[in-house]
Symmetry: C2
Subunit: 350 residues, 2 copies
């Protein structure tokens, strides 16, 4: 297979972890005779520094015209504590999601056997947990109108959803549930929010097409609690953009480290793969960032193109690295291995 | 001291747990020579059933003219899965919060020594955790304009904040931090939301008055993760309405049961005290609901009026109940004790 892949390393630890994902893909390409052509481009704080624009035209065009995008991380503290910054790195990522129409962000959560004890949760709580979060990615408060009055004393964010936006991701989530344990949990705040009530109504409607999938509903406050009390109850979780952002970071604790979690963002035509961790600026350039989330994002990319065998080899390699404790300090505080060594281990295993 | 207390038992398990809180207050009144006069009123689904209105005029008037409100729980599943219901129990509570101007909801989180093992989190993670969440309670998406178009295919919720709304709760939170470990963590999503950027700006401004309090910022997704990874890092958490709703339910896992968490909602003139758990309709009338959160809400009420010694007696009684395992099934699955027995133990101890 020939794939043209846009690579956006982004900010902070993005470049170093993405390098390891590329190495894994190169190795797969060699062994299984695929041609992966990578083209790098700027996005985020680094793009602002170099071009003034968090998502330069050129980057967007590249992404629109490739088979897939592999993305690292975004964000820089110099913008975070400056509420007056006019241009912010995150705008690049949000614009990219919107322009590529990446409406579904898929985040699988499953602890590794040999890492069960790395979680702050007790073994009996997480052993056997295995669920996937479907987070809507191009709607909600992320993209609604924002206002700030002239005096800077009043601000607003509009959360909006349409039936169509809910329907399309609901179908993906129900289909995924059909291939899993046939349970879908919709998370919302329907006792307070109008958008949540629309979600509930539309999801109930879509569920008629999937009579074999059991549907239930949780309020987001309760869901945030249930994820920790009893994560095994979940199979597929479906939710709106902001709730999905919060719940998926929270759910990372089940696996022991957010450095293990990959995600796929899918649209009608385009697909982007990224680790769910952020830019982690404190770790930048220190060879301590966990590359596994990025490597697994590469595996999700392969699956997306039907290369299941190849993806599986990556999953196995990662499992071996974890089993042999070739992991970074987030998983083993006294580890001697860094970003590079973990990446090497994985690509050598392939 | 003479106190007139409006009692709103509400829905589900509300009436049975509130009864135990009243018993504790009666006992305190007798022993310490205070006169607590209770007046009950309707709110929630039960008020809809009886009057068509989730917050009848009479209830509101009563609450406006008492020293404090003791509230149970609200919500009924018959409304939750009916996105078309025009009147909903929660509207009663939201209206009451707004009309009483209860802008600050205060939720203390601290595990009981003898319950450390009841948490899904490991002992070493939670032992020593002790923080308080300040949740803004009368603004944000809860109260902004809501729309649903005529076809029922498009909905919106507006999240709004003004400098004034942020300033007043920020002062309370900073003052609390001054009396604690002098650390305040503001939780927001300033990399995406305009309202969050306003929060950050205003809180930075207010912080100038509290140079002895260390201020830091966390994005809400990261905060949801940090609460579980390392809850000991927190002292006072300050956040907007919806984030506070989610994070405080999540944080309940640290104590082992949401049935242990009380909250105070304060305004300029009024004060309301409530357990943070909901109406838990499945448990209604079964004598299995944990009354401790309600009893502790009564203790917070006493503290609010400066009755610290009296509040302390309740805290001690609750600790004894827990130590002697006179607790409900949420804390001890094979417990023989019910709502009533736990309440009796506490009021007898006083
Ligand atoms: C960087 C930020 C804008 C982003 C988000 O909130 O979507 C990140 O947290 C994520 O989850 O991908
Ligand atoms: C019942 C509901 C409206 C309420 C809220 O979301 O504020 C509850 O969850 C709470 O936290 O007090």
């Amino acid at each position: 297979m020939n794939l043209k892949i846009a690579v956006l390393p982004g900010d902070g630890i993005g470049p170093e972890v993405i390098l390891q994902a590329k190495k894994a893909l190169y190795a797969i390409g060699e062994v299984y005779n695929h041609e992966f052509v990578f083209e790098e481009a700027l996005m985020g704080a680094i793009a602002i520094d170099k071009t003034g624009n968090p998502l330069p035209e050129q980057t967007l065009n590249l992404c629109l015209n490739t088979d897939a995008v592999l993305f690292g991380a975004i964000g820089d503290p110099k913008y975070d504590n400056n509420p007056n910054a006019k241009v912010r790195p995150e705008q690049g990522l949000l614009k990219l999601r919107k322009e590529l129409g990446l409406f579904a962000n898929i985040r699988p959560i499953k602890p590794y056997k040999s890492l069960i004890d790395a979680s702050p949760l007790k073994r009996e709580i997480i052993e056997g947990a295995d669920f996937t979060i479907f987070r809507e990615l191009t709607g909600g408060a992320y993209f609604g109108a924002k206002t700030l009055n002239e005096e800077g004393t009043h601000a607003s964010d509009l959360c909006e959803y349409s039936e169509e936006e809910i329907t399309r991701i609901a179908h993906l989530a129900f289909k995924s549930a059909q291939n899993r344990r046939k349970k879908l949990t919709m998370v919302d705040k329907a006792n307070v929010l109008e958008t949540s009530r629309l979600w509930r109504k539309v999801v109930q409607k879509v569920s008629a097409d999937y009579p074999d999938v059991a549907l239930d509903f949780l309020f987001v406050d309760n869901a945030a609690m249930q994820l920790i009390l009893n994560p095994k109850q979940f199979d597929v979780i479906l939710t709106e953009n902001l709730f999905g952002d919060i719940l998926s970071d929270e759910a990372s604790v089940i696996t022991g480290s957010i450095g293990l979690l990959a995600s796929a963002s899918l649209g009608e035509k385009n697909a982007l793969f990224e680790p769910i961790h952020g830019s982690y600026p404190q770790a930048k350039g220190k060879n301590i960032a966990n590359p596994i989330a990025s490597i697994l994002s590469a595996a999700m990319l392969l699956e997306h193109f039907g290369l299941f065998k190849e993806a599986n080899v990556i999953y196995q390699a990662v499992e071996k690295a974890i089993e042999y404790k070739v992991v970074t300090v987030d998983l083993k505080p006294d580890s001697k291995f860094g970003t590079n060594e973990v990446g090497e281990f994985v690509s050598n295993f392939i």
